[in-house]
Amino acid sequence: MSIALHLALIALLLALAFWTVVARETFAAVAGFVSYGLLLTLAWVALSAVDVALTEAAIGAGLTGALLIGATSRLRKTEAAARAERPGRATRVLAAIVATAVAAAIAACVLLLPDPGPSLAPEVAQNLASTGVGNPITAVLMSFRAMDTMLEAIVLLFGLIGIWSLASDRYWGGRPGLAPVVEPNGILAYLARVLPPIGLVVGIYILWVGADYPGGKFQGGTVLAAMWLLLLMSGLHDAPAVSQRWVRLALVAGPAVFILVGVLGVFVAGAFLGYPEGLAKPLIIVIEVALLPSLAVTLTLLLMGPPQRSESSP
């Protein structure tokens, strides 16, 4: 991309970020945030960080955007009251000054970083062969720093337990979200009939290709979650009750398989999360395939919120 294009991208990013902060309407701010996320995806592509771009598009803009839009619609009734409680001008100016100062100091530090910076990339490349995968980022996430990835999957689960714990006791064990309204001839129902098969293939492809090219379970899982959400929102399918055994099993299967493969490593490779010679790639694929549905179910249910109606509710 030419320098002019880059500059235009930067200017737009800054403008959208500014808009998101100053917008008065919550919905306007969310709209700014989602567009900001999509543009940020372009920026990562321009920096040749395709893995980061995919994640930003799927999770940063897509999933977070959907979550925020959902929150906005729930907050609409109280928005006027909340605005009345807005902090005074002096507080806001002070906050702006502090935030700008911190950002400027961090920017100055980034400019001071050594160039070229010290990097572990050569070492990763050197050891890539023994992991059996071709994408160095997958090697970092699934082999060198597999512990972090396992823990991230567990963090998501903790988040879901936290959200569920906000339910009212009356509806515990019931279904999340409001009862769906079916409009069989609506555009949403049409999309929900057409898109999911395609989305399913795309999600699994992103997972599979992640071994050697940009992609992976988090991005793939997000695509699957989006497809399920589409089905739920169109009313063609109802959200499952949180007490269902299969829901619980689907949630923990991925992290559980990850831990079990890690324990297997103690016996066959001499270290927790170690992979035996030659079996690294198959085992990594086992973990990723187990994580994909777990992540998709966790992300979908995170967006659906706590149980809000009884299990027998339509």
Partner: protein
């Protein structure tokens, strides 16, 4: 360069560190699948096994007299992630195991699944979150990598915040949300600092970083960002505003976990960074600033605690004050380092303060819970009769209070004595003054509560509810731990200093 290269080999017993982290997490997974009262059973099985693991870690650590190390996946840092447990980590894991066990016993009374119901919300969430908090804290203590530590902080946040709102009342939801905002901002600052350190030094490993960091603006900025983030999570004055409503509004067992343990995670990380990673980077004035905030916390927290009408809020503000003591150690460590006296007294003093506060505060919150159940309220002015109805519990409250004040032979006494002697050895008399005034203020509210609770009940009064004896025993047990901790001074060895002599002091040429 330092002569002692960081030990980068898995040591015997290293695998126990993985177990200490993953056993509680595996318990969460299993408990979620089985659900209902099985979750409680799984939690109990995990607590018993987990205590065994921590004891085995202690034994291995005492046996070898060195840090335990485990290389995950067999990859050595900087490429891989190492788990390391020095004496500090082992001590913290021990106290967390003790408190989790006692809170577990207490919670049997409050978070059982009633007969006739398959699963209730609060019980399931509590038992899962109890294990989640435990595993996350163990990870904070043993992780040797600043990014894994970030993940540990996130785990701890998402395990801790829902505990605040277990009651489901609107004001606890608001308190939980405020806590979440503080905690997430703290995480973000910590993460920004982590990025800067990786960008400048090409490693995330604590031992390698300690060797590589140099005194330059990027390091200062990273240290400042990470410290600020962690202070918000520890609730050091003036970032303490989220703490009192969050800790006071939670159910007693959850308050005990939050106030005794969860905030110590972020504090432990500040110690790790300031004492082990940045000893040559942070300056004495910066350490004085931290301690000045601590001193303000002691004074303000204690005075506000004195003015509280509700017992749980009083205890929560007392936490705000006690957090202050935890930060008095930093200028003492710096000054001891600078004068080549060895920082053992200040580090052990800080650690003992953390341990004695953890046991004492958990006991106090649970005692307040029992008082609330018995009287039907927790108004400080109207506690009469509590001493007659709950003699064991009021004794426990008094013993825990004695430890907070710093009366011998309590853990609080030994901690404050070590900190006082370090302050005198480095000629920083003003911290001595702060500690003495803090002790006086603390004794005022502890005596106020105990004296009012000992007053005879109104004629014809009867307890609202009989509390089970095992709950009272758990509270008394914890309070005794805190009160008798000072006897640790008689131990022939200093567990806290295991594996710490090899930590290279960098920055001084």
């Amino acid at each position: 360069m330092s002569p002692a290269a960081p030990v980068n080999l898995t040591t015997p017993g290293g695998l126990l560190l993985v177990l200490a982290v993953l056993l509680p997490f595996a318990g969460v997974l299993l408990g979620l699948v089985l659900g209902g009262r099985h979750a409680q059973r799984v939690a109990w099985l995990t607590i018993l096994l987990g205590i065994g693991v921590v004891l085995a870690i202690t034994r291995a650590s005492l046996g070898s007299g060195a840090s335990l190390v485990y290389l995950l996946g067999g990859w050595a840092p900087p490429l891989g992630v190492a788990l390391r447990a020095d004496g500090l980590a082992v001590c913290m894991m021990l106290v967390v195991a003790v408190v989790v066990g006692a809170v577990g016993v207490y919670a049997n009374g409050d978070f059982g699944t009633p007969a006739g119901q398959r699963e209730t919300r609060a019980a399931l969430a509590f038992w899962l979150l109890l294990l989640a908090v435990w595993g996350s804290l163990n990870l904070v203590f043993v992780s040797g990598d600043i990014f894994t530590l970030y993940v540990a902080l996130e785990l701890l946040t998402f395990a801790g915040v829902p505990l605040v709102a277990l009651d489901g009342r609107a004001e606890t939801l608001q308190a939980a949300l405020r806590y979440l905002v503080y905690a997430l901002l703290g995480s973000m600052f910590y993460l920004l600092g982590t990025f800067l350190l990786y960008g400048a030094y090409g490693t995330l490993d604590i031992a390698l970083l300690a060797e590589r960091v140099g005194a330059q603006p990027v390091t200062w900025m990273a240290a400042a960002l990470m410290t600020a983030g962690l202070l918000a999570k520890t609730a050091l004055f003036p970032l303490h505003l989220w703490l009192p409503p969050a800790h006071a509004g939670a159910p007693a067992a959850a308050s005990a976990l939050l106030s005794a343990l969860v905030i110590k995670g972020a504090w432990f990380l500040v110690v790790r960074l300031w004492v082990d990673v940045f000893p040559g980077i942070v300056s004495l004035p910066a350490a004085q600033l931290l301690a000045a905030l601590g001193a303000s916390a002691i004074i303000v927290g204690n005075i506000v605690a004195l003015r509280q009408a509700r017992l749980k809020l009083l205890i929560a503000y007392s936490t705000v004050a006690q957090i202050g003591y935890l930060f008095l150690m930093f200028p003492l460590v710096q000054a001891l380092n600078a004068t080549q006296q060895g920082n053992a007294a200040a580090v052990t003093g800080g650690l003992l303060q953390a341990i004695s506060h953890a046991t004492a505060k958990a006991a106090m919150f649970m005692a307040a819970g029992l008082i609330y159940s018995t009287l039907g309220h927790d108004r400080v002015a109207d506690l009469r009769g509590a001493g007659r109805a709950l003699p064991m519990t009021i004794t426990a409250f008094a013993l825990a209070g004695a430890s907070l004040i710093g009366l011998p032979p309590s853990g609080g006494f030994l901690a404050k004595w070590l900190l006082l002697s370090a302050a005198i050895a480095t000629a920083q008399w003003w911290w001595v003054l702060v500690m003495l005034v803090g002790g006086l203020l603390t004794s005022a509210y502890v005596f106020m509560v105990v004296v009012r609770a000992m007053a005879p009940a109104a004629p014809g009064w009867s307890p609202k509810k009989q509390v089970p004896g095992y709950q009272q025993a758990a509270v008394l047990g914890l309070a005794l731990c805190s009160f008798l901790l000072g006897l640790a001074a008689l131990l022939p060895f200093d567990v806290a200093q295991i594996g710490r002599a090899v930590v290279p002091l960098v920055g001084s040429p």
